[in-house]
Amino acid sequence: MGRIIRHVILGFALLLAVSIAFTPSAQAAKEVKIGFSMALTGPLGPAGKAALLAMQIWRDDVNAKGGLLGRKVKLVYYDDQTKPANVPGIYAKLLDVDKVDFIVSGYGTNLIVPALPIAMERGMVFMGLFGLDANAKFKYNNYFQIMPAGPDPIVDWSVGFFELAAKQKPRPKTIALLSADAEFARNAVAGARRNAKKYGFKIVYDKRYPFPGTSDFTPILRAVKATNPDLFYVGSYPGGSVGIVKAAHEIKLEPKLFGGGMVGLQYTAIQMNLGKLLNGITDYWFWAPEKTLKFPGIEAFLAKYQKEAPKQKLDPLGYYLPPFAYAYVQLLGNAIEATKSFDQAKIGAYIRNNTHSTVVGKVKFGKNGEWATSRTFQVQLQNITSNKMSEFSKAGKMVVVYPEEFKSGELIYPYAKGK
């Protein structure tokens, strides 16, 4: 028994030696270290890698200008594997072992929430990347989330779709709701349900499909078609979005307005897959190469991103997540420069009380660290003639039809006319 224990201890010591060998050596004291976990593998891996590239571009931009308050920026990050259970340990390591100066979140609600209490305990500013109301329970005043979903994201997400529908003549009367049985999609459709009631549309179909695991959407859409809805609001994830668009064409499902909360239609690979089938669909969007959305710095950022992305096999155009991944660290960096301080409380107060200019436009935070007002666009896909990538990098293809302030074209109504 004694020998076994000795061998176990020896094995343990070897592992520790390996860990020390791989631990980054003491960093130069002058660097500003920004730590985070990021999904580099697992379901969110491809998007997480694109976000990381955007953050690295920001780091290089800042360092080329001399860093933050004269100190070079260093990003310290670990792969959370899209597993929330890995997040608490990673942030503890970032803060207690790597001694980072700032922390920002990984990508997605599930991976933001486990880190939020750690930021709270240490009184640190915590920038969030695409969390849906992650701070609702914590109400932490130094949390700021960059996705422009607005103060009541579940309802605000679909409000544009319903406002557009309500303006049409003759006014549509009925709506079908379809959702994947998982977090975001259910929330999006829950908001749509409330908006449907608010705008007085009669719900004629309201069902969920198993997620993951549904590949053939034809029977589901036949059931939707049987109810003959004027509007069809869908909450789906990338694979499901592709299946739903293809099945809708196959069975000639033609509601007057179709789309809403379909994740994936914003990704270049899916756009190239669906091509002309996308015409006429109206969906939520965060950025598109339209003339109304040319915010300062966005084109320079995208040029750098698009040069590097193909080498790393990432989304080649990067319109969905990368600009926001750049913006959430850009905003933190700007706050450090503006306050001329590394003091977390001062930086938090500055971010909370000011409007910020970023590559994704003007940002002002409100309740629970979400955007003070929603800026979720409704985009209608129009005039797509091929599956080529160049098709989706031009203006006039992803036309902003809501809100009025950023509108770049008119809604083609009904959907069948825009197909």
Partner: protein, 319 residues
């Protein structure tokens, strides 16, 4: 009580006191969080081994039992926020009852069919939880952990202490089973169930005991999970990792003794924690996969068996 049993229980008590003393000395929270995960796997691997290693019934549904413990705790926290020890008791009770139910399945299912049934159970439970909106459903829910706890400077230290205590108790339970007539009966079932029955071993009672104790320990390990991770949703609570690791760790350590899962969980769990913050996660998965394949092929009795053989050879005896 035999001398050996007394000594083992004294060591267990010393380890629990030691875990408490560590919390008074060490500040770095990363080590508490990393140690929590490793200790959680010590419990899961030990619990799995009571059924899989001692009795020979391979359970692929560890994630189901673990998540039932976690979600029992979530339901209670949402209702009246009882203290953690009650969450542990209730999590253990619910998963233990689930284990008892699975035990009755062994009347009809053996071998690979039993394993498939346990995997299916985890899938069915995940679907049920995904559709139970009170505990967050598919969208998940955030759980606020208590701000302070007496005797500990923060909740991370407390959770580490709790998991260390559960790990010590689990290993002690496995040891007590192994050294008693129950363990010998389970070994007889593993070797040949029919022959064991003919020899008068109460096989149904022992199998029910094994499934219940194994399930209960997994549930207890899951009960503090929501406080550890703060945000719980079905995909992470029912993650296949729990099933794979709780099976791989005893296989690597050795399935026939109490020490096998302990050694396997400490080595593999620590390696995974180190890999998460040093190497890439592909390496993390590669570690478990390669070790599992390597041990199954070259050392089917695990590390403990391997060291036993080496020791025998060194002593000049046949292994």
């Amino acid at each position: 009580m035999s001398k050996e049993r007394k000594l083992f229980l004294i060591v267990a008590a010393v380890l629990i006191v030691g875990a408490f003393l560590i919390t008074t000395q060490m500040e770095n929270r990363f080590y508490y969080k990393a140690a929590y995960v490793v200790l959680q796997y010590v419990v899961l691997a030990t619990a799995w081994n009571i059924l899989g290693g001692y009795t020979g019934y391979v359970n692929f549904g560890t994630a189901g039992f673990f998540a039932m413990g976690a979600y029992t705790a979530v339901a209670l926290i949402k209702t009246w926020k009882p203290p953690l020890y009650l969450l542990l008791v209730m999590g253990g009770l619910v998963s233990g009852l689930l284990g008892l139910g699975i035990g009755y399945l062994t009347l009809r299912l053996k071998g690979v069919f039993f394993s498939i049934a346990t995997l299916a159970l985890a899938v069915v439970l995940q679907m049920l939880i995904s559709n139970w909106s009170y505990v967050g459903g598919g969208a998940g829910t955030a759980i606020l952990k208590p701000r302070s706890v007496p005797l500990f400077s923060n909740y991370d230290e407390f959770l580490f202490f709790v998991m260390a205590s559960i790990a010590v108790v689990s290993v002690a339970v496995a040891w007590l089973i192994e050294k008693s007539w129950i363990g010998r009966g389970m070994a007889a079932i593993r070797d040949n169930e029919e022959a064991a029955e003919c020899m008068g071993v109460p096989i149904l009672k022992l199998k029910l005991f094994a499934t219940t104790v194994s399930g209960a320990l997994m549930g207890i390990a899951g009960a503090p999970f929501s406080y550890f991770v703060v945000y719980i949703e079905p995909t992470s609570a029912f993650h296949l990792d729990y099933a794979v690791n709780s099976l791989a760790m005893p296989m690597i350590g050795g399935t026939t003794t109490w020490m096998g899962p302990l050694v396997g969980a400490v080595l593999v769990g620590t390696a995974q924690q180190i890999a998460t913050v040093t190497l890439s996660s592909e390496m993390n998965l590669l570690i478990v996969g390669s070790l599992l394949v390597g041990f199954v092929v070259f050392a089917p009795d695990g590390l403990v068996g391997l060291f036993g053989k080496i020791r025998s050879r060194l002593a000049g005896r046949e292994a």
